[in-house]
Symmetry: C2
Subunit: 148 residues, 2 copies
Amino acid sequence: MSRRPLKRPGTGLDPGPLPGLIGYRLRLAQQTVFRDFAASVPGVSPGRIGMLLLVEANPGVTQSRLAQAVGRDRSTMVGVLDQLEAKRLVERRKGADRRTNGVWLTRAGRSLLARAKRAIADHEQRVAARLSAAERAKLLELLGRIGA
Amino acid sequence: MSRRPLKRPGTGLDPGPLPGLIGYRLRLAQQTVFRDFAASVPGVSPGRIGMLLLVEANPGVTQSRLAQAVGRDRSTMVGVLDQLEAKRLVERRKGADRRTNGVWLTRAGRSLLARAKRAIADHEQRVAARLSAAERAKLLELLGRIGA
DNA sequence: TATTGTTATACTCTATAACTATA
DNA sequence: TATAGTTATAGAGTATAACAATA
């Protein structure tokens, strides 16, 4: 928390101790990255694309397991899937345990995801433009240790 | 975007390509850090504490400059300051240019911030617990390059 | 009894557009 | 005309509590 007389360009304001905090830098970095992502993959938010990637990697996964995987309440998943289903990107199918719904990508979902993946590859390039390959790997590793 | 067969412990789900994306790791890390922050400084959210720190470093700053500094619309700042003022942590004072409000910490605001800073120091220790001092510095630097 | 999906409801954070008072 | 603050309104994204169907 040592005081640093840095100024953020454009504002002229003294940022105080904030730039010394990991959480503050994480928030700024995340805002920057998500803004670029949203511009790269229009129409579906970063979180929703993440959901589709999860369904792709786990075809037929139940709503509750999906909710658990992303750390949200299962009631939250209902609206998310309603939305993705309205866009015809996923579909629910009754499971063998008939309390559950399996979630599956539709053909349109797979197709959108294929296009999104190419856009994401470019996005990732831009995000890491000022990092060497080794620095990018180091960043992922350090973030993994924070987020564990 | 290379596929990695990692599993997130506890879910049993295949995370797919997500762990290879900087944005995804940023989001997970930020959630972890903000959760610890919120528990460390109860009653005032991380964003609001950030606002108080900014006001402390820039006494009498106008609402619009504050909004610009955090990248929000000036209309958003109205409710934020209403809330902080209701808690008697800041006060608005009419500026020399009488269109503007200067924002100032109250005595209670300064006192809360002093306590918060000690809690934040402990919080920062926990967040960086698995990082050496050099790694922590490297992380801040890399995040700064992403968020620039 | 316990779990899954659902509904109703509410809260936080944010933005846009239009208004007012000053400059 | 332009700017600072405000209001009304709306849209994401999230959670809690209670319910029906199923296990």
